[in-house]
Amino acid sequence: MDKPVVIVVGAGPAGTRAAQTLAQAGLRPIVLDENRQQGGQIYRRQPENFIRPASKLYGASARAATALHKAFADLLPRIDYRPETLAWGVVDQQVLVEHNQRVDAISYDALIIATGATDRIMPCPGWTLPGVFTLGGAQIALKAQACAVGAAPVFMGTGPLLYLVAWQYLKAGIKPRAVLDTSTLKTRLKGLRGLRHRPAILAQGVRYMAELMRAGVALHAGIQPVRIEERDDEGGLRVRGVTWRNSRGQLRHTVGDAVGMGYGLRSETQLADLLKCDFAFDPISRQWLPVTDVDGATSQHGVYTAGDGAGIRGADGAESAGALAALRCLADLGFSVSPQEVARLRKALEPMTAFREGLETGFPWPWRNAASLPDETVICRCENVTAGDIRRAAGSLDAPELNRAKAFVRVGMGRCQGRMCGLAGAEVLAAARKMPIEQAGRIRSAAPIKPLPAKIRGIMT
């Protein structure tokens, strides 16, 4: 009998460890990577002709990053690695892919989805201005291109990435003008119950904050974004600064030429959605996520999720989850797997789950802000659909949930398919209808899950 074909989508921490586990069992998994080089976002590599050492790129995570890159290099002869390959759909036990303007369909016996996450975004007026980037984007500019997004950046949002990115900019010689955090000291104290499960990571976060303060960077807690201000005096519209309210409600302004913003992360779940995997509302993160068992098996036979694409547990958690999902996949395919290894990985994931709950409690998604956004605030940046448009869909057009609102006013209809606006759009809709957020639902995924080139070639099945 031919060996079963397992496709792993994604080559970050979860996808890499999944592929490694499958290869160790004698399989030759196909690894689809949208990026040019393995590593995912967190361990994203710089181009080959850059010379900064790993310690400079990944800081405290340098050892983990190097280990993952090396594991992958060792793995390469034993896997079918396909970089710059977009998995844009899935149908009839086949993943639909695009590479170099050519589409193809690859059959599989089992599928491990390790598609990671992007920044979770709460829009505010001015967020579409040139010079405003996600925190992840601001970090990628630095890590993968050795560029700062501006000379005087302001970082706004909440979560660990807010402080990590601000600290990385400081270390690169670009002093942040301020760090504006919507979370309060009170919620952070509440979050400590979960955060203490990973004391080393907690200590690292505290260190970043301390070093920022020592360098004279103001860290503000409990802020409310008002708007990102613009100017147009140097040959192009750009950022002039950020207007915000402090924890006492007083109006403040920080001058800067760029903004990095993000409020935690959101999972990339489109492939599981196309496969009609069951989803459930996760009240802690206020997101809909694929339902899986403890090992990552979804409701669909032979389909597994691992890493941040299945719920945010961070890079270390993703490595364990990738290996665990692969072991579960192997067991389902009839291979014998070590129960001790399964137990070890399950145990390794326990503190990650508690830590994540601590993060969501300590640095919560500021969902209440959606209700007070001015009507003219752009929510869907692809098609410039405003909060007012969504409120009209909620009110006079009587859209009971997000997909109906999408049909009425095109929120989430654009090229990004709601990746940037879906969560905030749901909050605006739910607030306008005074209903619980889970009733607003989630934007249905549709293939292709990312735009395909117009000059596409290849055989479609």
Partner: protein, 99 residues
């Protein structure tokens, strides 16, 4: 025009030249199109709905707000496409009728 981005290191790389809206732009080997354009200027494209400038957002291929065009009309995602010598980019969509 003043660029949005600032280089912080890795300036030892070889220079290359691309063409943006008919004008030569110097970049370094390993720069993405997005990096090359935002070091030289403050926009990548105009939003189709309000014609206001955009300069990308996520840099990881998710938001699709960094799409630029080649002079022959191909769409490229600037954040994930390397700038290569001789590349000819335009930052406004080439009308279909001219293709």
């Amino acid at each position: 025009m003043k660029g949005l981005f600032r280089r912080v290191s890795e300036t030892q790389r070889s220079p290359i030249t691309i063409t943006v809206n008919g004008q030569p732009v110097t970049a370094l080997e390993g720069d993405t199109i997005l990096t090359a354009l935002l070091l030289a200027g403050a926009q990548l494209r105009l939003n189709e709905f309000d014609q206001k400038p955009r300069a990308g957002f996520c840099l990881m291929g998710a938001c699709q707000d960094c799409r630029v065009w080649t002079e022959s009309g191909d769409e490229l995602r600037a954040c994930s496409t390397p700038a290569t010598p001789g590349l000819r980019i335009v930052t406004a969509e080439v009308p279909w009728t001219s293709q």
